[in-house]
Assembly symmetry: C2
Homo-oligomer: 403 residues x 2
């Protein structure tokens, strides 16, 4: 297996088999593109300029969008060059001047988000939420097994890991006999552990992207915490869906992992019944065996398995464009909360506390929903080549009091 | 009353009291900012450069976003300069070289849309849709009179007036005993006549914009046709709201009318019961007396009155940000379908045909929903100073067959 000569990288979860991209800056500098290797990043703009890499001008930009817009051939070309350069000991002298320790940089939002779509692809999560919000109904709506249910979220409030999360204010359902809704800071602030998929190459209005063309459009993968105010959401969401209960913040990892790094993570979907319509079918293994970990105040409270997801990312993309909607570079679509079958694999506090009725222990404290000062960290890893594992970054957020 | 010296402009609905902005190009040229006066537009970039107008560099751009981002003082400054210049006969020799007949230009999408939010602010429309979609329920959901219900739409498929509308394909609810949804071109393609509001000056994450600060953030107004596939929407929309039934296209006028041009159109809202929560209250007249006209194949089929809207634009903005969501230059929020009380004032075919059950006559033909080849034109006007009227442009679209 190919390994990197960068100190500490060989055999780590950020070896040359991974190579996620991000945007970094050093004091006094402009943000620009870096690629992570071990606990360093490579300052790509000057290295690519020196090595006269085709298209290397796109690395001197404050987001990955210009690089992503070059399309799959360029992505593969740059990845090939990086794998060679970072694993060939003879390139060491050339590259070393452009290695920057991660501890010395600030990481920024890696992409300019065009449209943000959030799906609802976990059958366990959708069933749990249905049981909690609508106890007298069938948990799954009739459409759920026929299409990946989704909706548009707010692109302008997607923030990078580490951005403080200010508790949102809003209207809550009137209590008991009250005629007037309550107003104030959300009392049911929650997380949603999700995976996000980033569109690099767009598509034309009026065309559709097939499941087979997924890798021609999707550049990579990021970890997502889609913060949710359950009390605001429960009051506002009929009939047009979630709005302010979600739009105050969505955190993503500082790293976008190229799709090519996830080849060893591909698995079959758990199974779809009934068989989906032809435009949603695919031949190849469409699931991803990504292991997610939810940590609150230093304690892991859940380990949602992405391999349990009912709908695949390629199905989400095919569905999103079947009506002719165009794609743009920077479109982000997320899977929806990842929840497995067992209690300790649920990806939201709504489910972990069963709608707030079953408090659970976190770091010696009782929790239903998040309290001010709570620190949430999501992490994810996936199988790499030859039994290795690759890291998919982390998403951190600390809850600040409402303003 | 101030009048323009531009030939044909004085007393027209595009006199100096109006002055909407757009983006135009001539063959071989780059798109740039123009302001409409009569049946001409002023090529602002070279005129502002010659006259050394502060901030004039923003007119040489392919969208209005850079101009809008300068904020309300700059908007007022430029408007004052344009009114003076275009009404003072002595400026004629200076300006005339930069007047371009509208017939000689191509008009482009005037703004780069950041986030697109669609509200649901007409009580008549919401009640009609409730009765049609959920005949056994209360037509208005319990939240409707407490907050302006809204959701995020797809920013990337907002298109300029004149863009052909390709009939979307998608899943429709299974018919009768069928277990599998139907798939194919939408059979219930519809319009929604709306007004849209364009954010010029953004706001910080974690802050809220009050109703009183509306004019500090909102640059102007545009006419919107939010095309809707009712059959796709009816199947997909539970529980997360409309998605593919709306995301294939939203058309807006080529012109953004500055808020200042609508001062004479301000009216009181029809009345709100119950009184809204404090963050939704406002002192000044918050409604807008805009007259909309829906034309299909050359015949006016409806005249929706914007003055009938229950929630004001300032209330929409205050609600949208009460949770701390930030605004960005280019954010577009639309009112939702405008429908008055009478049948001939309804702003959608869903309502005009009462869910398809009552076909109506259009240009000698029967219609429930749109057929391929149909041409839809929305137009809007509003009171100007001294009994005049100002034009708010038009939104055209012709239906093309599904691909």
């Amino acid at each position: 297996m190919t390994r990197s000569w960068v100190p500490g990288a060989a055999g780590s979860s950020y070896d040359v088999t991974n190579l996620p991209y991000g945007i970094f800056s050093q004091p006094g500098d402009q943000p620009r593109v870096g690629v992570r290797i071990g606990d360093y990043l490579v300052d790509l703009a000057p290295l690519a300029a020196q090595e006269m890499v085709d298209g290397g001008h796109v690395f001197n930009r404050p987001t990955l969008n210009d690089f992503m817009s070059l399309g799959p051939t360029a992505w593969e070309h740059v990845r090939r060059w990086l794998i060679d350069t970072l694993s060939d000991e003879r390139e060491r002298d050339v590259v070393e001047p452009f290695l920057v320790p991660l501890g010395e940089v600030r990481l920024h939002l890696p992409i300019e988000v065009a449209d943000y779509v959030d799906f609802y692809c976990s059958i366990e999560h959708a069933s749990n939420v249905g049981r909690i919000f609508r106890p007298d109904d069938e948990p799954l709506k009739p459409n759920w097994r026929h299409l990946p249910v989704g909706y548009h979220g707010r692109a302008g409030t997607v923030v990078v890991s580490g951005t403080p999360i200010i508790r949102p204010r809003g209207q809550r359902r009137p209590a008991g006999e009250d005629a007037t809704p309550a107003f104030g800071p959300s009392q049911r602030l929650d997380i949603e552990a999700e995976m996000g998929f980033v569109v690099g190459a767009g598509s034309e209005l009026g065309s559709s992207v097939t499941t087979a063309d997924f890798a021609d459009h999707v550049f990579g993968v990021t970890l997502v915490n889609d913060w949710s105010a359950r009390d605001i959401q429960a009051w506002e969401y009929v009939p047009l869906g979630p709005f302010l209960g979600k739009s105050f913040a969505t955190s993503i990892s500082a790293w976008i992992t190229p799709l090519a790094a996830l080849n060893a993570a591909r698995v079959d979907l758990p199974g779809q019944d009934p068989e989906p319509l032809p435009y949603l079918q695919a031949q190849e293994p469409a699931g991803l065996d990504i292991a997610i970990e939810v940590e609150i105040n230093g304690e892991v409270v859940s380990r949602p398995p992405y391999s349990s997801m009912y709908w695949s990312p390629a199905q989400m993309l095919a569905h999103m464009t079947v009506n002719g909607a165009s794609l743009r570079t920077g479109d982000l679509f997320a899977s929806g909360t990842v929840s497995g079958r067992e209690r300790e694999t649920r990806g939201s506090l709504l489910e972990l506390s069963w709608g707030g009725q079953e408090p659970f222990e976190v770091a010696g404290d009782k929790r239903t929903f998040l309290q001010d000062g709570d620190k949430v960290v999501l992490r994810a890893t996936a199988p790499g080549p030859g039994g290795s594992r690759i890291g998919l970054g982390e998403v951190r957020g600390r809850i600040e009091p409402a303003r």
